[in-house]
């Protein structure tokens, strides 16, 4: 701009025309912005304080460590939160590797042609598909065709499909944000494409990937509709895994997959350590006393108490993936629709726990992103 132009405009400090209007618009934008923020924040605060008011007093150790019950005084969320954790672990085990690999492939390797664009559009659209549709897919495919049953595995895979687009899109964005020069530098010194990706692109993309994964998983935690559809249950008063000290059941001798003894007439001398009953191979029950020795036929089931090693063994995925389950949102949904007001207090308390879990996960995402970003030195 030349000095002549300035001279033609005259005094540039003088108010140009329309300034008042523009200032007014500027100020009113601030006002509307604040109003919008308050509406958002206020709703959240109202919601949380309502939950705290209704359910805060129900939060106790008993609440966390009790099974659901028809008596609101003793009902808890034990099977719900354990179920949620197992389902989410399954979801993560499927969604993270598949989502991240797909994201890296689409961004770094896939040729830019109509196929790739079609996949891109499909992935983006998948993110907008209502979750109940995934439930329908799961019932038709996983439950009925693949015969996976109404299990934790089915639920985990369903939720993994649900959050896959979120993970893929987040991975792609994160990978895309790594400057091209980083790749070029790596390739220039002779790195292969995978070496460049593994050592240079991925570490820098990590904060974004982690954020995407955690956001996806926090969405999965709150999902109810697809899980109800595939048979997430409301009353489950046992855990898919065993705790030390839980009642355990041991089968005498070797049995086939149907529980029938391999050598039907064989018996075994067994020292019983708990009063109770032994269930015989023909399902009749025989009362037994602790400290006594009995000759039991193969195939009989004896009650015992789970040891630590029994418990650790039960944590192996193949021992719980096929189990029935319930999750936090399903338990909450059931409690809100009960006639007794006490159940709605429980629902509010469960809501608080769910909110706390989501907050914790998002907090972890922020912290991880911060940690990983700090390590980045371009």
């Amino acid at each position: 701009m030349s000095a002549v132009d300035v001279a033609e405009r005259g005094d540039i400090t003088a108010h140009p025309p329309g300034l008042a209007t523009r200032r007014f618009k500027d100020a009113s934008f601030i006002v509307w912005g604040i109003v919008a923020t308050i509406i958002g924040l206020g709703t959240l605060v109202a919601l949380v304080s309502e939950l705290v008011h209704d359910g805060g007093h129900r939060l106790s150790m008993t609440f966390f460590m009790s099974f659901p019950s028809s008596d609101p005084e003793i009902a808890g969320i034990l099977s719900a939160w354990v179920g949620s954790i197992l389902v989410i672990a399954t979801t993560a085990a499927f969604a993270i590797p598949i989502g991240v690999l797909a994201g890296i492939y689409l961004e770094e390797y896939a040729p830019k042609n109509w196929m790739t664009s079609a996949i891109e559009i499909a992935v983006n659209n998948l993110a907008g598909v209502p979750s109940i549709i995934f439930g329908l897919l799961a019932v038709g495919l996983f439950v009925q065709v693949f015969d996976l049953g109404q299990s934790i595995l089915t639920a985990g895979i369903t939720l993994a499909l649900l959050i896959l687009p979120v993970v893929i899109v987040a991975t792609r964005e994160a990978v895309r944000s790594v400057p091209l020069e980083i790749r070029q530098a790596a390739l220039a010194v002779g790195a292969t494409k995978w070496q460049a990706t593994q050592h240079h692109v991925l570490p820098y993309a990590m904060p974004g990937v982690v954020t995407g994964v955690i956001i996806g998983i926090s969405r999965a935690i709150g999902e109810t509709a697809p899980l109800i559809l595939i048979g997430g249950l409301t009353f489950v008063a046992f855990l898919p895994i065993t705790r030390p000290g839980d009642a355990a059941f041991e089968v005498i001798g070797a049995v086939d997959e149907y529980g029938a003894p391999v050598t039907p007439d064989a018996t075994e001398r067994v020292l019983i350590d708990h009063d109770g009953v032994v269930v015989m191979p023909d399902f009749s029950e025989m009362p037994v006393q602790a400290g006594q020795t009995y000759d039991l036929p193969h195939g009989a089931t004896v009650q015992s108490v789970a040891t630590w090693s029994d418990a650790v063994q039960s944590w192996a995925p193949q021992n719980w993936l096929g189990s029935e389950f319930t999750v936090m949102p399903i338990q909450m949904f059931n409690w809100t629709s009960r006639p007794e007001a006490e159940f709605r207090e429980l629902a509010a308390a469960a809501g608080l726990v769910l909110l706390a879990i989501t907050l914790l996960m998002n907090g972890t995402a922020i912290w991880l992103r911060y940690r990983l970003r700090k390590q980045i030195r371009w």
């Binding site: 990590m206 409301t234 009353f235 039960s314 629709s337 009960r338």
Partner: protein
């Protein structure tokens, strides 16, 4: 720094994989999974099944597991007729289509009416109306009332000049099916300009919040909200009768009393655990029903049904149709038919 991070991650993964392999490989003692009895179906029957399942698991000390779901009466029958569950809870008798799908899958069922529920019509306590005839209810809820009947004084000139706000269950509910058939004469025929909700607590809130509010739901929801709602007495020709345990049981609260059911897979009854559970269910249904807000049947009825279960007498007493205003005696007198009737 990053490669180290990933190496550490890789090591951790390898170690945990090895640990898993070791743990799963060391399955020396045969730990048996307890047998699981699977129940699903009506959300109306859910609280009852839940209470019974809880008691049974306590009694058997975890030797038998029971799970209860609530996919609704229709959803429950779908799973039941695919053989996925042992027991289906139902807030209405099995339909002809469901009988056919069970028959084609070779699944036979034992029908047990397990308790009674009284559908309750409620209004705001400020509303001076105390009772309504079935005809008056019909003039409010029938499909032709849509958009026309909007004030209580249109129903009966002695009723106050008060605009109506209607609440009711959504069309997926068994309660909706029963009420529409009992009041309007045709199942699922209803005016649609009301606020529907699958959650009865929403209907409670709605009627509590509006002076002209009117809605209907199960007796349990009314009993929990007695102080905030008024239940209308229903006049089906013999004078107004208020909904109560007594009037439901003696059959005078008609036509809005309905039985609720469990359907047991007859083949599953051969399993001792299921047999034991069904016995426990029938023996404890009366007490549990009262606790969760339903009306237990007389002891004689439960004795009959226990026998039916033990003898594994299959079939339905309803021929695929709803039984409107049926009393306990009529229920007991009904004959079981195994195949769908053609009428």
């Amino acid at each position: 720094m990053h490669t180290e991070f990933f190496k550490a991650l890789g090591k951790a993964a390898a170690v945990s994989a090895a640990a898993l392999a070791m743990v799963s490989g060391s399955a020396l003692a045969q730990t048996a999974q307890p047998f699981t009895i699977q129940i699903d179906g009506s959300s109306t029957v859910f609280p009852l099944s839940e209470a019974v399942a809880e008691g049974f698991q306590g009694q058997t000390q975890g030797r038998v597991r029971v799970t209860v779901g609530e996919s609704g009466t229709g959803g429950g029958f779908r799973k039941f007729c695919r053989g996925e569950i042992h027991i289906a809870g139902a807030s209405r008798p099995i339909r002809t289509s469901e009988m056919a799908s069970c028959a084609s899958a070779g699944i036979q069922y034992i029908e047990i009416p397990i308790a009674f529920d009284g559908l309750t019509v409620v209004v705001n306590p400020s509303n001076p109306i105390r009772s309504m005839t079935v005809a008056e209810l019909r003039s409010i809820w029938n499909p032709t009332a849509q958009g026309r009947v909007t004030n209580f004084n249109q129903v009966n000139s002695s009723f106050p000049n008060l605009p109506m706000t209607l609440y009711g269950p959504g069309s997926a509910s068994g309660t909706f099916d029963y009420f529409t058939e009992a009041v309007n004469g045709t199942a699922r025929a209803s005016r649609t300009d009301y606020t529907p909700s699958e959650d009865d607590n929403v209907i409670v809130q709605g009627v509590v919040g509006s002076p002209g509010g009117l809605g209907y739901f199960g007796l349990a929801y009314y009993e929990e909200n007695r102080s905030r709602l008024r239940a209308l007495s229903i006049d089906s020709g013999n004078g107004p009768v208020a909904p109560s345990h007594a009037s439901v049981l003696d059959g005078t609260y008609t036509p809005l009393s309905r039985p609720i059911f469990i359907y047991i897979n007859a083949a599953a009854m051969r399993r001792p655990q299921v047999n034991q559970f069904v016995q426990y269910y029938i023996n404890n249904a009366g007490a549990s029903a009262e606790r969760v807000g339903y009306i237990g049947l007389p002891a004689s009825a439960y004795a009959t049904y226990l026998q039916r279960a033990q003898r594994r007498t299959v079939g339905t007493a309803f021929g695929g149709r709803q039984a409107i205003g049926i009393t306990v005696e009529q229920l007991l007198a009904r004959r079981l038919v195994q195949t769908p009737t053609s009428d």
